[in-house]
Structures are given as C-alpha cells and as structure tokens.
C-alpha cells in the first residue's frame, strides 16, 4: 500500500461529503472534536470505519471505535496510518 497516502485529506473529504455537506471545509479542522463534540454519532462512526476498512483493506477493532482513536481527523488519520503500516 502507498505509504504516502494523505489520510488527513481522505478523512476530511469523506466526513465533509458524507456527514457535513454544504459546510465550510475551513471550519472542519484537524483537531475539531467529532465524537465528543457531537458531530459524529455511533451510526456515523460505523459508516466511517466500514468505509475506510473497505477502501484501504484494513481491519479496525471494536475497542478502537472510541474518542481516543476517532475523536478528531488527526486521530483518525493516525489510526489509519498505523493500520496501513
């Protein structure tokens, strides 16, 4: 797999398209709290996980579906990067 994938952009793009259509991309920053801020809920988390699992052929664990790993775009990108490596 390409180690130079820009996960941050991929995650941001997906979130904007799937959950926040019409929102200003500049407002969706890398450290904006998504789960604790109430932007993505359990259903959105599930969609997000399944999307990236399918897209990158990786497997995420149930205990990783939490604020520690998925609360911000930075966290999600780091988790994906760790899986791809």
């Amino acid at each position: 797999m390409d180690a130079n994938i820009d996960f941050t952009q991929a995650v941001k793009g997906y979130i904007l398209e799937e959950f926040l259509p019409g929102e200003n991309p500049d407002d969706l920053t890398e450290d904006l709290p998504l789960i604790s801020g109430g932007i993505i809920d359990s259903i959105a988390t599930l969609k997000l996980v399944l999307h990236f699992e399918e897209r990158y052929g990786i497997v995420l664990e149930a205990h990783e579906a939490d604020k520690e790993h998925l609360d911000t775009i930075r966290d999600i990108a780091a988790l994906l990067a760790s899986k791809v490596r």
């Binding site: 959950f19 920053t29 904006l32 801020g37 205990h63």
Partner: protein, 844 residues
C-alpha cells in the same frame, strides 16, 4: 473567536499553566467564594441529604487544599479524600468493609494471570457477593454498604476490566482508587457509569480555573434541575385514579416523564463535583426534552449509559457481525443493546436491593424503544441526518419540521414512559378512559407549555458540545459565569423567608415547600401501603421513595406483616393471628386468644369495669413498639392508676388494631368489638380517611369479595362499579362519591354502637410526617362530627418535636415508644376534657 475556530486549538498546544493544573490566587479566591455561595444554596434548599451537605463541605474544603498541591500529589490526595468521604458518610467500620471488598476486586483485575483467568476469578468473587446480597450466604458487614458498593463496582468494574484489556497505558494505583471510590459516590447509589478511559484522558486537560468554574456551573444546574423536580414531584404528579379527564391525562403524562429531572440533577451535581478535582468529564445529558427522534432521544438522555452500552456491547457486536452486512449487524447489535439494558436494569436493582426484578412493562418498554431506535437507525443509515459545524442555519420550513418532529417525539416518549412506570398494565389502560371525559380549556395548558419550550429550544445555537472552556469565546465564557452567579444569588435570595414571604402567603408556602426534600403525597401514600404489601413501583424506579426503601433493612422489625396476620373469609379479609408471640428488636409482640394485641380479657366485663374497644390500624396495634408501650396500653394503665377510685373501679381498653386495616374493615372489627360489650368504641383515624376507604373498596371489588353492607353496594351501583372491575377504574368512578362512602362507614359505626349502648369517640392521630397526609383531615373531622362521634383531634400531637425523635425510622413513619407516650399524654387530656360524655354507662 467562534466556538468552531476556537476548538481547533490543539490539545498538544496546552499551555504550561494548563498542563500543571495551576490557578492564580485571584481566580482561586473567586472559585472559593462561589463554592461558599453554593454551600449556602445546598443548605437553603436542603439538597438531597444531610450526608450530602457534609460531603460537599468535605469536597469544597478538599478542593481548597487540592488546588495548590503539585500535580503529581493531586490524584493520591483525591483518592484519600474519597476514602475519607466514605468514612464520613458511612462510618469507619462500614467504610473499612466497603474499601476492603473493593480493593480485593481491583486487585483481582491486576493479578499476574491471563485475562481469562482474571475474569474467572472476578466472576467467582462476584458470585459469592451475589449469594450474600441475596441472603443465601452470611456476611459480617452491614446491609448499608451494599447500595454504595454496588454503585461503585457493578458497572465500573466491567468498563475497567474492558479497558485494562485494550488500553496500553498502565493504570496507577491512585487512578484506580480515584475511579472506583470517587468522592461523590459515597452519597449517591444512583451514579452515572463513568468511562474509565475518559476519566483518565480528560484529567486536567484544560485550564484548571476553567475546569473548576465549569464544575460550579454544573452543580448549580444540578440544583436547578432538582428544584424543578420538586415542583413537578410535589405539585404536578397525579395518581392514575385521579386522571379523570383529558387535562389530567396530559398533566399525568408530562409530570411522570419530568420526574426524570431528579436523575439529570443528581448527575450534574456529581460531575460538577468531580470537575473541582480536575476531571473534566463530558455532559451527562443533552437537553433530552428536545429530542427530535428516538435515536436522538437515546443519544441525549443518560449519555454515559449510552456510551457504556456502545463500548461494551454495541461496537463489539457490530464489528463481529459486519460480515453479515452493515444493516443486519446494526439491527442485531441495537436489539442486543436494548436487551442488555433491560437485563442490566434488573442487575442494578439486584445489587441495590438484593432481589431480582422481572416485570413485564420493563421488557415491553425496552423492546418497543429498541425497535423504534432500530427503525430510526436504519433510516439514518440510509438517509443520514442533519449535522452542522457551529450554529446551524435553518429556514422557517426546516424549523417548523424540526419543532413538529420534536413535539411528536416528546409526546410519544411521555406515553411510553407512562406505560413503563405504571404499576400494572390494567392501571395504565384504565387511565386512558380519561379521554372520554370533559374537554376543558385546561387541556391546552401542558401541550401549549411544551410547545413553547420546544420552539424556544429549537432556536439554533452552537451545536458543538463538550468544548474545553478555554476554547470557548471569551464572551460565552463570561456569559456562563455571570449566569451561574446570578442564578445562585437569585435562588439564595428567594430561599430567605423574609424575602419569599413578602410575595404573599401562597408564594411563601410554595417556596418554603421547595426548600426541603420530602415525600410527595403520592409517595407518602405508597410508603404507608409498603408497610403491609410489596410495592412494585417502588421496586422499579429511582424515586425518593425508592431511596428511602433502599436503606430499609431486609428484616426490619424482625417480623413482617405476613407473619402477624392471617387471611380469613369475609369482608375484613385479615386478622391478627390469635395466641401468637414473637420477640422483635423493639420488644415482644403478644397477640391474645381473641386476636388482639393486648392482655387476655374475659368476654364479659365485670360490673364495675369501664370497657372501650379501640379500633384502628398499625398505629393502634403498636407497630414497632413492645407490649405495653402502645398508647392504648399506656392510657389504660393511667386510667387505672388515676381514675379507678371514681365511678369505675377498673378500666379496660381492648386493642382491636390490625396493621393495614382501612376504614371499611373497621365495620367488621366493630361488630367483633361489640361482642365484648364495650361502653365505648374509640375509632382511631390516622389520615387520608377518604382515600384509604376508596382504596379498600377498590381492592374488594377487584377481588370480588362480597360486600355485606347494603349502603355500600348502593353507592357502588350509583358509581357504576361492578364486581371484578380493575382497581384503577373503581377508584376513578368512586372518587366523586368518596365523602359519601366514608360517611356511610362512620354513620354505621355510630348507629351500631349506639344500638348497643356504647359511646362513640373519633380520635384523630396524624402520621409522624407532616404534609400531604393531613390534607383530608378537615373533611374527615366534618364527616365524623356529622355522623355523631365525639371528637378528639390530636393533629398537632407531634408538633415541636424533631421527626427523628418521634418516628421509628426514615422508611417507617410509625411513632416510636416516645411517640406513643406523647400520644397517650395528649389523649388522656382529650378524654379528661370530655369525661362526662365518654365515661358513662348507657343508662346514666
């Protein structure tokens, strides 16, 4: 800076001050000043218990030290303070047992064995504790530790163990102790399921001053919730049988649901207190009245529970089943979550009360809610839902749709909630007959109020939640502080008697009532019923009554009602078991050969003996006091001591009291009493005579017990009541005739007694707990007077005495031995005042 923009500040960019949890002297003094005000507020409104006030003082004093300690000392300090808090609330011995058991369980999580082996060991210990809790194994500690031990470990141990398996960061001893024994828990068995990872992760993750200020805001919000709860609890709640028209029905539905404010209020208090020690925990509720769908409701109400279920059950299931397809996995996982929610509700009750709880409404409620959430989730999976960063923009049409959805969801939840909390399914169904009642203008009151709240609540605001206070705009931060301060000042001001009494008697009485936590009139009635029967609704809900019950020892009085009474045929249904004796913790209970808690008497009195039969319930029988300590025995002794040299050489008072007996049953007891040729019948009324009369009639109608009194059956016919009808419907139909039914009972007692030459005396003795219990007293006195009784009204017999000096226990409002002495003294004065009228022979 907007919230959204502000929130972009990286957590990695925390300032040194924030990382070290430091606070400036001025800010520290500002927090201390607010805590002092908060303490006054808690005291003025008697928030929760005296124990909570002591705990709050300990916490605030602890904060004063904690805030200046080096960061590395703070967690150990908090742990020690929490342990001290347990000692303050529970006493040293109970605290030692509780902490000891807790340490064993925490220790087992860390023994150097495989995860599975540790889990097995934990299950083994939990199994032994469960057997002890259920009473199958002995235990050396007090019953009092179970609810707190349960609330500390029953869910948190699951989360802790789960995180131990998955979290790579090792836990320190202080973290573990702080997590399980966290300070506010000592007072609150009803405690949110705090996530261990969040508990550690959010520790001092913001500017210390702002975390503390946030904590104060949460606690003030909690107090506001609890005061609003009291308004609902004292003034708006209705019993199902009181729901006789559509306006009542809307009031019932709304007030029943709003009782949940107590839970949200307590959770705010708890989380706010934890903030004072650096735990910046997220919100526990998010404006749950404004849920616009069932999934939204599930997300907004009791968020910590939802996240616990999500972490431990939902995600593991959905991830395991994802090969089946997302939708199937989602449906199965969601239903599993609701199944487990139901099960864990029963599991929670087991640890708190020691009995399992399996009730059909619980199963149906969680099934229905589960199915609704599944349907909603599938819809959201397919169509998504509106989300926004910051303040959403909505046109009028969108706003109208949102309000309509929220309004519909609110009422649907109210209906579902009423179903869940109903004592029985027939009671719940019977309540809907109110829709056939009169449609008055009042029917619009609650629908309009709710609509107004929803419209105002739907005005777009910042949608981002749980933002660090340091990342809020300065304006929002200042606004929050000002609102908190103003709220505290306002509430403290209003609570001062000199202030609220200026607004007239009604306002004064209203505010005064909100200043203390007491049982509502409905719960007081339930408490009374609970002495003699098992109360399902008390078992199931976290009401104030539930908490009173939770502290009640299992073998209270060493005897239960079932051992004391036996069922007999006929209208009275029960009587005391003749020739029975048992020693209880309050003395011996001896029942004579005639089924009276009294000495043995001859059936026929001696010629120079004055004999009176005392009719009544547990108060007369002397519930909770030893032989010879009930007021009836004390009066008899005194009459024999002081008056036996007069007209009569001897006085005999026959104690005909039977616990749980209600006014109609006294008709049977009086017939029995007349066999002993009394010179007088003393009828002892103890409050809510009309309601208790109807309660009993409803019971016998439902059970198809034959009613041998023509006057009563005529009244039932008039009210369109037929045998076998469910109790709730009988109550509804009979309520308009309540006065007539009681009047029939009283008139019959008087006429039957007079026909046998006996004087009739009606003695009113109040419940120890003042308040709603006395609301029918005036009416009962009037009815008794009209019936021809001689009246002795002792409604102020306990006045001027501390309730705890007079009653048996918080869960048992019967007078203790001292209370009976008070009654005897006052009753003697009452009898003396009307001696000529009462102590005479029929032929005098």
């Amino acid at each position: 800076m907007s919230v959204t923009a502000a929130a972009t500040v990286s957590s990695q960019g925390l300032s040194d001050t924030r990382q070290q949890g430091r606070i400036g002297l001025v800010d520290y003094l500002v927090i201390l000043a607010q805590l002092a005000l908060l303490l006054v507020l808690l005291r003025q409104f008697q928030i929760e218990s005296g124990a909570f006030l002591r705990l709050a003082m300990l916490a605030f004093a602890g904060f004063a030290v904690h805030a200046w300690l080096p960061l590395s000392w703070r967690l150990p300090f908090f742990s020690l303070l929490s342990l001290a808090g347990i000692g303050v609330v529970m006493g040293a011995e109970n605290a030692a047992w509780l902490v000891g058991i807790g340490l064993v369980m925490i220790g087992l999580c860390h023994v150097p064995l495989s995860f599975g082996s540790r889990g097995f060991l934990l299950l083994g210990v939990a199994g032994v504790l469960a057997l002890q809790r259920a009473g199958h194994l002995p235990f050396p500690w007090s019953d009092a530790i179970w609810p707190i031990l349960g609330s500390m470990f029953m869910f948190r141990l699951i989360v802790y163990f789960y995180d131990l398996r998955h979290d790579k960061t090792p836990a320190t001893i202080s973290q573990s102790l702080a997590y399980f024994f966290m300070l506010p828990n000592a007072c609150f068995p009803l405690f949110p399921v705090v996530d261990y990872k969040t508990f550690r992760r959010n520790y001092f993750d913001d500017d210390a001053y702002r975390i503390y200020q946030f904590g104060i805001e949460w606690m003030v919000r909690g107090v506001v919730h609890l005061i609003l709860y009291r308004v609902v609890y004292y003034y708006l709640t209705l019993a199902p049988h009181e729901v006789s028209e559509p306006a009542h029905l809307t009031q019932y539905l709304v007030s029943n649901f709003l009782l949940y404010l107590r839970v949200s209020g307590l959770f705010h208090l708890i989380i706010g207190m934890l903030c004072l020690f650096g735990f910046r925990l997220p919100e526990t509720h998010n404006r749950f009245l404004l849920a616009s769908s069932f999934t939204d409701f599930w997300r907004r109400i009791n968020i910590y529970w939802k996240e616990f279920m999500q972490k431990v059950f939902y995600y593991p299931t959905v991830f395991k089943l994802r090969k089946l397809g997302t939708e199937k996995a989602l449906v199965i996982a969601t239903l599993y979550v609701f199944l487990m929610t139901w099960f864990l509700h029963a599991y929670q009750w087991f640890w708190l009360r020691g009995t399992m709880l399996l009730v059909v409404q619980d199963v149906l409620f969680w099934t229905i809610l589960g199915l609704l959430v599944v349907g909603n989730s599938l819809y959201e999976m397919k169509h998504g839902r509106a989300r926004s960063l910051g303040k959403p923009t909505r046109g009028w049409r969108d706003m109208a749709v949102l309000v309509a959805k929220t309004y519909a969801t609110f009422w649907f939840i109210c209906v579902l909630w009423s179903f869940w909390t109903a004592e029985s399914l027939p009671t719940w169904f019977a309540m809907w007959a109110a829709l056939r009642g009169d449609y008055t203008i009042e029917v619009l009151l609650f629908p309009t109020l709710i609509l107004a709240v929803i419209v105002i609540g739907s005005i777009p605001g910042d949608s981002l939640r749980n933002v660090r206070a340091s990342e809020q705009s300065e304006r929002a931060w200042q606004r929050g502080r000002m609102a908190t301060l103003a709220g505290m000042m306002f509430l403290i001001g209003v609570s001062v008697e000199g202030v609220h009494s200026q607004f007239g008697r009604d306002v004064g009485t209203f505010v005064h009532s909100l200043r203390s936590g007491q049982l509502s009139r409905l719960d007081t009635a339930k408490l009374e019923r609970g002495y003699y029967e098992s109360l399902l609704s008390v078992d199931r809900f976290n009401s104030q009554l539930w908490e009173v019950y939770m502290n009640k020892p299992k073998n209270w009085l060493d005897i239960d009602n079932a051992n004391l009474k036996r069922f007999v045929g006929g209208f009275a249904q029960t009587e005391l078991i003749p020739s029975f004796a048992q020693t209880t913790r309050f003395g011996t209970i001896t029942i004579n050969r005639f089924g009276m808690r009294d000495k043995d008497y001859e059936i026929e009195p001696a010629a120079d003996t004055y004999r009176a039969a005392v009719l009544g319930a547990s108060l007369v029988m002397g519930w909770g006091v030893g032989d010879g300590e009930a007021f009836e025995a004390l009066i008899e002794d005194r009459l024999n001591r002081e008056w036996s040299d007069g007209t009569f050489a001897r006085f005999e008072l026959l104690n005909m009291g039977v616990p749980g007996h209600k006014p109609p049953q006294q008709l049977v007891m009086m017939e029995r009493a007349l066999e002993f040729e009394p010179d007088a019948i003393f009828y002892v009324a103890s409050g809510r005579e009309v309601t208790r009369t109807l309660d009993y009639i409803a019971e016998v109608v439902e059970k198809r017990v034959e009613i041998p009194y023509e006057g009563l059956t005529q009244l039932l016919e008039k009210a369109n009541v037929v045998p076998g009808m469910d109790g709730a419907t009988v109550m509804q139909r009979l309520t308009p005739y309540g006065r007539e039914v009681l009047a029939y009972v009283y008139e019959r007692v008087v006429s039957e007694a007079r026909a046998r030459g006996a004087a009739t005396v009606w003695i009113f003795l109040p419940q120890v707990r003042e308040g709603s219990w006395q609301e029918e007293t005036r009416e009962a006195v009037e009815i008794a007077q009209s019936a021809g009784f001689t009246i002795i009204n002792l409604e102020d017999v306990y006045r001027g005495h501390d309730i705890d000096d007079v009653r048996l226990a918080p869960w048992d409002d019967h007078p203790n031995a001292f209370g009976h002495r008070l009654i005897a003294d006052r009753l003697f004065i009452g009898l003396e005042a009307q001696r000529d009228l009462i102590f005479r022979r029929a032929d005098d």
